[in-house]
């Protein structure tokens, strides 16, 4: 074992005073030890105070352009394959997360390039018709003036182990000038801290307004302090975790939860001719393999329309082989017993269905992938994750909205391969049942810059608007020294 990697970013706390909890991660025959910060209640309180004060004194007065500049510089460092932190990320993250090196390398680049200056400006423009409202009062169309302010102290509770995923909400908080504290996910406790330190290097004043820490969930102590101090809590995780967290957040605190989702894809018969079906299967396989379906946007079911030259069962076989082929380039990470048993349970459900002829399982239990063909069609259901997926034969894609509608609370991303008229017709029906994002097959795990996570406004949801109504402005004129 080499040295211990220090996780987090804790401005204002003396390093030697910080308790550490060492966690070892093993994968690919290597071990990485990570020291997670473990703060006392007093330290938690001090950290909240430090971040809040510094944010009020400096961040609030910064132009948005300066924040964009700092984030852009931090992203540039992690995009530079020669930068020591990027090299460290490429070395340590495969061991910490279990994902293969290629997946980590490609994934980091794909995420980070959405945090360059042009993409950040697009991110701002997406939510604010005039991003200037973040810097000061701007004239409102209806009359008067308006200004947007983020919370003084924004707490992020991150989850899951898709590398760099926390950066989305971290960046959103900084863009609205919120003093920011993030809680690392144990499964990927490194990237957010590195990014925070790089922001501190790019702009030391900004670095003081941002902390990244860790605590053991559900154990009072520092957690209670952070939850009590925050003005807004943005949390990611399963519904049980979110419910437990919500119960502990004071009523007056804004709580923005992002729970689990079930992604799915739809393939129209016009996309299933002899030339197109193979490449489409490969794109779908990429969506399934990238991060082992751990992200909320990954497909767990593919609805494939009958009537094209390539039938759903043949498409399933194409998909199966693409998954088999991708396994040599991107080996599946080692599963923990819980993950392995969830695949086994999913397979056994379908083995039962196969006895009635309603399912065909492709692949052996020992294969690092599983495809099941379901015919007749069934409603949306979660897969066993980690490269397990169901291909559902449907007579018409217009049947699909009804098949997914019962899971409205879990809908978010849908990948679609269809002609434009079909795409828009389906989009209407999918929007009606709660789908909030439609992407191309092959882009499901790579949301575009400025996307609306769970259909919400990433920045707008964080701010409160202060309006100077036209009446106040007009009345003020009466009190002006130059008033006639």
């Amino acid at each position: 074992m080499s040295s211990v990697e220090q996780a987090g970013h804790l401005p204002g706390l003396p390093d030697e005073a910080i308790g550490r909890r060492i966690v070892e991660h093993r994968a690919w025959g290597e071990t990485v030890a990570v020291a997670l910060p473990s703060l006392s209640e007093d330290q938690a309180r001090a950290l909240c105070g430090h971040v809040r004060t510094r944010a009020r004194e400096t961040l609030r007065r910064m132009e948005t352009a300066r924040i964009v500049e700092a984030i852009d510089r931090a992203s540039a460092c992690l995009l530079d394959r020669a930068h020591p932190l990027r090299r460290k990320a490429e070395t340590l993250l495969p061991v910490v997360t279990g994902y293969d090196r290629e997946t980590v390398r490609l994934g980091l680049t794909s995420y980070l390039k959405t945090f360059r200056r042009p993409q950040l400006l697009r991110f701002l423009a997406e939510d604010f018709s005039n991003p200037g409202v973040l810097d000061g009062f701007q004239p409102a169309v209806k009359g008067g003036f308006v200004r947007a302010r983020g919370p003084d102290l924004l707490l992020h509770v991150w989850a899951g182990n898709v590398p760099a995923l926390p950066l989305w909400s971290l960046v959103a908080g900084l863009l609205v000038k919120a003093g920011t504290i993030g809680k690392l996910a144990s499964a990927e406790p490194l990237t957010a801290g590195w990014f925070a330190r790089l922001i501190g290097e790019a702009d030391p004043e900004l670095g003081e307004c941002l902390a990244v820490t860790w605590w053991k969930g559900g154990e009072g102590g520092p957690e209670a302090v952070f939850l009590a101090q925050a003005e807004c809590v943005m949390a990611y995780g399963g519904n049980d975790t979110l419910a437990a967290l919500r119960a502990k957040v004071p009523v007056t605190t804004r709580f923005l939860p992002h729970g689990h989702r079930i992604g799915f894809a739809m393939i129209a018969r016009e996309a299933l001719n002899s030339r197109r079906a193979g490449p489409l299967a490969r794109l779908a396989a990429h969506d399934i393999v990238r991060y082992e379906q751990q992200g909320c946007y990954a497909p767990q079911m593919l609805f494939v329309e009958r009537g094209g030259p390539v039938a759903p069962d043949e498409f399933a076989r194409h998909l199966a082989h693409e998954l088999a082929a991708l396994a040599s380039r991107h080996p599946r990470r080692r599963l923990d017993p819980g993950e392995a048993s969830s695949i086994a349970a999913w397979r056994s459900v379908h083995e039962m269905r196969a006895l009635d002829g309603g399912a065909v399982l492709l692949g052996d239990p020992a294969d690092p992938w599983s495809v099941v063909l379901l015919d007749p069609a069934t409603g949306l259901s979660p897969s066993g994750l980690n490269r397990s997926v169901a291909v559902v034969a449907v007579d018409a894609l217009s049947d699909v909205p009804a098949l997914v509608a019962p899971h409205r609370a879990y809908l978010q991303s849908a990948g679609i391969a269809a002609a434009p008229a079909t795409l828009f017709r389906l989009a209407e029906d999918l929007a009606a049942v709660g789908v909030t994002r439609i992407s191309a097959i092959g882009r499901m795990t790579a949301p575009e810059a400025g996307w609306h996570h769970d259909g919400r406004f990433s920045l707008l949801d964080l701010v409160t608007m202060t309006e100077i109504e036209a009446s106040a402005e007009a009345a003020a004129e009466g009190f002006a020294p130059y008033a006639d």
């Binding site: 076989r317 082989h321 492709l362």
Partner: protein
């Protein structure tokens, strides 16, 4: 035991090269489906030998050029075995390799070509069509088709037989291109003259000596010589090989 828990169909498995291939798979632990057309006793003897060698075996009668018979074969394999990892298309239309009495081109009726096409290409087509759904339940299935080195070097112009084998090679390459994306490999083994088999027993000593003299490894192929390359192409060791013709003739043909 490279083929333990693997199921392999060998068409024309009751004798000659087919029997040698079947027993070789059994030696490696495979479950061999010994297909035959007429000689049930010979097929059962091959199955017995397979079992004695540590494999499992099942005999199934079916004329592989008859779609109805092949559908029965497929149904039986699906029901009794439930999986299929490799097909060795070894059966071919009856043919006598007799250089002294071979038919000259001007005397070869079109029907003779047709009979050989049916025995080589149509049989393979029919078997693969029927068994592909079962084979593709797993990624990594393989098809091995028996061709001939006569395609590359017609030492003796057996017009109908060799033309059909040439067609089989073209058929195999197209199939390899189409089935690769769903994880099925298709390759050919092209033996030289294999001796002794029922088909080659009329090849006179003199011709055999002439072939041996030109063969770098200085002998003719035995049925067992053919089995090794077939097992290689059917198994995991050749997982990245498809659309190829592996010539097994002691170096007579080098391509």
């Amino acid at each position: 035991m490279r083929f333990r828990d693997r199921a392999i169909l060998v068409t024309g498995g009751s004798r000659g090269i087919g029997a040698a291939i079947a027993t070789a798979f059994a030696t490696e632990g495979g479950l061999v489906v010994v297909n035959y057309r007429e000689n049930a006793a010979a097929a059962e003897a091959v199955a017995e030998r397979c079992r004695a060698l540590g494999g499992q075996a099942l005999t199934v009668a079916a004329d592989v050029t008859d779609p109805a018979a092949v559908a029965g074969l497929a149904a039986q394999i699906t029901e009794e075995v439930g999986r299929l990892d490799a097909i060795v298309n070894n059966a071919f239309a009856p043919y006598r390799f007799d250089p002294d009495h071979r038919v000259r081109f001007r005397d070869v009726p079109w029907e003779a070509y047709q009979r050989q096409f049916d025995g080589a290409v149509r049989a393979t087509y029919t078997v693969v069509q029927a068994l592909l759904p079962l084979m593709t339940r797993r990624s990594g299935a393989a098809i091995v088709n028996l061709a001939s080195d006569l395609v590359a070097r017609p030492s003796i112009p057996y017009h109908d037989y060799t033309t059909a084998k040439a067609a089989l090679i073209g058929f195999s390459r197209n199939l390899a291109a189409e089935l690769g994306p769903i994880g099925v490999r298709v390759n050919c083994v092209a033996p030289g003259l294999v001796y002794p088999t029922d088909a080659s027993r009329d090849t006179p000593e003199e011709v055999r000596e002439a072939l041996i003299a030109q063969t770098p490894l200085r002998r003719l192929a035995t049925p067992e010589d053919v089995a090794g390359p077939v097992l290689f192409l059917a198994g995991e060791e050749s997982r990245f090989v498809t659309g190829q013709v592996l010539t097994v003739d002691g170096g007579l043909v080098m391509a």
